[in-house]
Assembly symmetry: C2
Homo-oligomer: 302 residues x 2
């Protein structure tokens, strides 16, 4: 499974029972937290997020609606006796803020918190299943997007065919890597007879808070699912511009330019109690669009 | 009206749909916020607190469950265009924490925030209706309780009697202050003929997070309503001691020693999902006790 669960979809402050930004990416039961607005740990309780599976937290920028829930979450991990290391990727000033808070509270976290300051575009995490990289977006203060890319997957074996050709299990890894098998009788068992093509690696891009910026499209080209903020409806383009936010149509246009497969919009302004028009406007530009709704999980698939 | 509304009654972290500490004191529609755990602004939405009536905020200590909701609340005031000054009474390190957060966000609050560091016991606010003072309690880090005391009230006039004795309105303030009235015919109209005794001034004490400390009782002597933390049931007295918290019976004992009229207990440990035993144990020592329940308002009266 590769999926995103929305914990908060409102901009600036909690309103209309919507919460500030937070989302959880699940890649085969490894969880990643992106942004952590106030109340994120409460939302985690509500939506039964297995928070101990989170080892990496990404903070896009230091407007409070994207991180005011973080000190509480980190403290709660400590109170609950977390021992596993935690990696925090965030703009540099957050380090001092957290240190001051822990010092004032007389707290020593019982786990190691690795702070990785976001300084330049590139890969943040590279493990056997995926790479996660950051890219700059256009906001009023330094702000980052995050791109989650699955690694190329190995070929799938066909169990029936393996048996038919009596291929020993010890050779399976080489089959998965694409090799043919030379049988004892000298026959060559071609790889494609016993394997199926690997599923294409999938990708998810989180485009944080940003003004309309076509450069983003190039950075997330061909992504399977893109989350792009859409703080305002299209008739508020000037307001969006002045505050370095985006409208529905601008978000959809980035998805179009990026040739993304699917779009998720969120970070809705509190001025809107009802969100129907957000979806209509986005779909007008990019059909495969959805609202990022709290508690909902969106699959990354093709 | 003099009353306290509970917004959060859980200790350490949000759990069982309970929230970290926050309460609002209402004295004749002037609101005061005591502590501001994560999610306080969300609880204010839920319980329809008229947050713009708050001009003074009191933070007992810098454990996160008592102030992690404050940066969000202060920011939201700004986003909503607050212009009125706000007074914040809190341990000194909070000033630097907030300044760093505002700087990192590139925020200039559109209102003036007066920061008053808590340094010694004494009066923090003295206006025509009340005095608010702070006193030390016993916790792992510097921690303060707050005492709200109504001022002596003036005598109540009896409108019927005023008319009967034809006392001019210009003399009413002097009647309220206790003077007799000399009528034009030389007769003395005794004050007690035309007035009723003033209602007794009421008081509320917030005893924050604290270990059992009998010195507190002397500081809040005769208070009408006391909120005292009761993190644990009585059988966890040793645990309470080691963490500088109190049990139900200890909280009730302070109310007894203080000769308080009524007790409110809160700051319940997350280990307890059901709270019935808290009330039973407290009432066993001090009958007029209540659980501090979220969303409930408790009158300060005699």
């Amino acid at each position: 499974m590769f999926a995103v669960t929305i914990l908060g979809n409102n901009s600036a402050l909690p309103m209309h029972d919507r919460h500030p930004t937070a989302q959880v990416v699940n890649l085969q039961e490894q969880l990643f937290l992106i942004d952590c607005g106030e109340g994120t740990q409460i939302q985690m309780n509500r939506y039964k997020i297995r928070r101990n599976r989170i080892r990496h937290i990404f903070i896009s920028h230091l407007h409070g609606d994207h991180y005011f829930g973080l000190p509480g979450l980190l403290t709660s991990y400590g109170l609950n006796g977390r021992k596993e290391d935690l990696w925090l990727y965030a703009p540099e000033p957050l380090k001092e803020i957290l240190e001051l808070q822990f010092r004032a509270a007389g707290i020593m976290l019982p786990y190691t918190l690795h702070f990785i300051p976001l300084k330049s575009e590139g890969i943040l995490l590279d493990d056997k299943k995926l790479t996660i990289s950051c890219f700059t977006v256009s906001h009023r203060i330094p702000c980052w997007g995050f791109l989650f890319k699955e690694k190329e997957k190995s070929l799938k074996l066909n169990p029936q065919k393996l048996q038919e050709y009596a291929i020993p299990a010890s050779f399976y890894p080489r089959l998965k890597a694409g090799e043919d098998y030379s049988a004892k009788d000298g026959n060559i068992i071609k790889n494609e007879w016993v394997t199926q093509p690997a599923a294409a690696p999938l990708s998810y891009a989180y485009c944080a808070d940003t003004a309309y910026d076509e450069a983003i499209a190039a950075k997330i080209k061909g992504v399977d699912l893109v989350y792009h903020e859409a703080t305002y409806l299209a008739d508020h383009e000037e307001k969006a511009f002045s505050r370095a936010h985006s409208t529905t149509r601008q978000a959809a246009n980035i998805a179009l330019l990026a040739q993304a497969k699917r779009l998720l919009i969120g970070h809705f302004s509190s001025k809107y109690e009802v969100l129907d028009d957000f979806l209509t406007e986005a779909k007008g530009v990019f059909e495969n669009a959805d609202l990022a709704l709290e508690g909902a999980t969106y699959l990354v698939h093709r």
